[in-house]
Amino acid sequence: MRHVFRRQRRLLLLGGVLAAAMLSAPLLTPSARAAEPIKIGFGMALTGGLAGAGKAALIAMEIWRDDVNAAGGLLGRQVELVYYDDQTNPSTVPGIYTKLMNVDKVDLVVSGYGTNLIAPAMPIMMSRKKLFMGLFGLAANEQFGYSNYFQIMPAGPEPKTDWSLGFFQIAMEQNPKPKTVALVGADAEFARNALDGARENAKAAGLEIVYDNTYPPATTDYTPVVRAIQATGPDVVFIASYPPDSAGMVRAINEVGLKAKLLGGGMVGLQYASLMTKLGPMLNGIVNYDFWVPAPTLNFQGVNEFLAKYQAKAADAGVDPLGYYLPPYAYAYLQVLGQAVNAVGNLDDQKLADYIRANEFDTVVGKVRFGKNGEWAKTRVLQVQYQGVKSDDLEQFTKHGTRAVLYPKEWKYGDLIYPYAQ
């Protein structure tokens, strides 16, 4: 009798286990896991000196996420952005990315905005062999040579020199050729890289460097700097500056009446709507780098639709209302990532990196192909000249004309006014 009960109990037990297994099967099968979103993690400058562009970039990235999710997500999964404010402070970056990978367990990582904020994350990415999409780092990978890093700023394969190559080429095309150059910039990673490249370009062009100095980023008044440059009497002045110093230098140049023939080159911030509107006519004649302007030669597929969506959101967010500078590229670097994920079919960092390295991508900033060190295979740093800018008018920048595209030749739209006249 007991023998029979034990067998029955065993059968009941077995039946119970099987039932439990069948009931819990949905929790274990891949289709249930498919509901989990793909998490993309990053730090971004939401406060501090670069926050104007950082916040604008975040808006662009959120538009990308919404576009992708509306179309069904990546690999059938929704995309979620996990991000923290790096405060434009490089020392926060390692902690942020460590948290993203160890605690938040993100699937993919991308960089924040700016050379100073990308470089500190590189060692972590290299040790974990993560794919790392970079947003506007100037030669951030030069020292590391990491093969899974890809940078969306169109600096080109030799970023330090490609950055200012167009500026110096324009200078040397003039007749009579300029003879002397002054190099000045902020004492920060980006500006120093830009100045290194400018120095090489100047030497290659046979220009004599008569002034070569950096200023601390916290400088209040740039009049002494401009006067010192004036005293050396240069034909060409190359400036590598961040937004507050760009504005300060432009004003000081106008006040001192700097008599150079070609001026500008690497001034970040002159592309921002707020600075362009306020500096107005003081910008006229300055030749500066840019990445996208509303010129007919740069009308890439999707860019105008994207800008319309961006501009609708930017108005409320207190960021750059036009969004020509960073946002299209912030959208594009995620486009590359998304297209790679869909093409490869999984989230393996190495496979994605290999795919990105070998293929060309169609984005809102045109066709993108990566080359040496993850930089663009072909440079597309534009040199534009501000012309006919009037004061206090934002609309004028939405039409072509206020920024004549001078270089590279294949995107040219407009002509240079030389020498730089007050």
């Binding site: 406060t47 926050a51 601390p216 010192a228 507050p244 004003r251 106008n254 911030g269 600075l275 206090d392």
Partner: protein, 290 residues
């Protein structure tokens, strides 16, 4: 190349810059130098002043410095309110030094974050008729952008100096910094005197903020760049001396400007602070301190 007129221009530019630094520091001279309130949030108040001026300038189109003068009254009242809170929570219990500092640190962050939430993080500038132009006196160029703040700063400094040395309340403020008990015996309430003084200090932040946004673009966390300089100027001038602050600010401005022009701008902060250390080594109470 590097000639006498370049040097002279550098000195003049330094004087103008120094005038601006004086306007930013003078409030701290009163609150830190005279009242011993470690108001580390003072530069944040200056930035808040800049943003208020920016908003009013966009709305009404009036001159920023004029708007700064209008804003002194609301800032004065805010300063009184803030001092009351500080006194009730900290000074009354004798815990002002460390906890008071922590309190003002907190105030600094709160002001910054409120500015970010209201205005966003973009740089803000104002444009007036005179920014971008300068007067030329022979070979000396004086940009209006720096000249106007200098003149206003000099007027404010002289005004404050006269107020503190000639009026009853002013003298009471100087007295309370020296000996609070004696002041009570004289029949003045030290607390109401101190709150007026603190209110005055915050009021100067409104004017300094107007100057700041005239001189260059402003974003909410800009105040942090000035904390070191402002405290250095107050200490160098001799804590609590209005004239000393002005002179110290001029010296700092001249040193920064001349070194920046002649030797390279990277050296300017190092030499400026080196001068501060040298002075303190020779004269620990500062230039005009007692």
């Amino acid at each position: 190349m590097f000639t006498a007129d370049l040097l002279l221009n550098a000195v003049v530019a330094g004087v103008l810059l120094g005038g601006f630094y004086a306007a930013v520091s003078i409030g701290l001279t009163i609150s830190f130098g005279q009242l011993d309130v470690v108001n580390i949030a003072h530069p944040a108040f200056v930035v808040a002043g800049s943003f208020c001026v920016f908003v009013l300038n966009e709305r009404f189109g009036l001159d920023p410095i004029l708007l700064g003068l209008f804003l002194t009254l609301p800032f004065f009242l805010a300063g009184i309110g803030l001092y009351r809170v500080y006194f009730t929570c900290f000074e009354r219990h004798g815990e002002e030094s460390l906890r008071g500092l922590a309190f003002f640190f907190g105030v600094m962050f709160i002001v910054e974050v409120l500015l970010i939430m209201s205005f966003g993080v973009d740089y803000r500038l104002v444009d007036t008729g005179y920014i971008g132009q300068s007067i030329k006196l022979g070979f000396i160029g004086l940009p209006y952008r720096l000249l106007v703040p200098f003149v206003v700063s000099a007027v404010v400094t002289v005004g404050l100096y006269l107020y503190l040395s000639r009026t009853f309340t002013g003298r009471a403020i100087l007295a309370v910094s020296q000996d609070r008990l004696a002041l009570r015996l004289m029949g003045a309430n030290p607390i109401s005197i101190k709150q007026i003084a603190f209110g005055l200090a915050v009021a100067t932040a409104a004017i300094a903020g107007a100057m700041l946004i005239v001189i260059g673009p402003v974003e909410p966390s800009l105040g942090r760049l000035y904390i070191g300089r402002v405290f250095a100027i107050v200490v160098l001038g001799g804590m609590g001396s209005i004239g000393g602050t002005f002179v110290a600010a001029l010296i700092l401005g001249i040193v920064e400007s001349v070194v920046g022009t002649m030797f390279g701008p990277s050296w300017a902060p190092a030499v400026a602070f080196g001068f501060l250390l040298l002075t303190l080594a020779v004269r620990p109470s500062g230039l005009f301190g007692r």
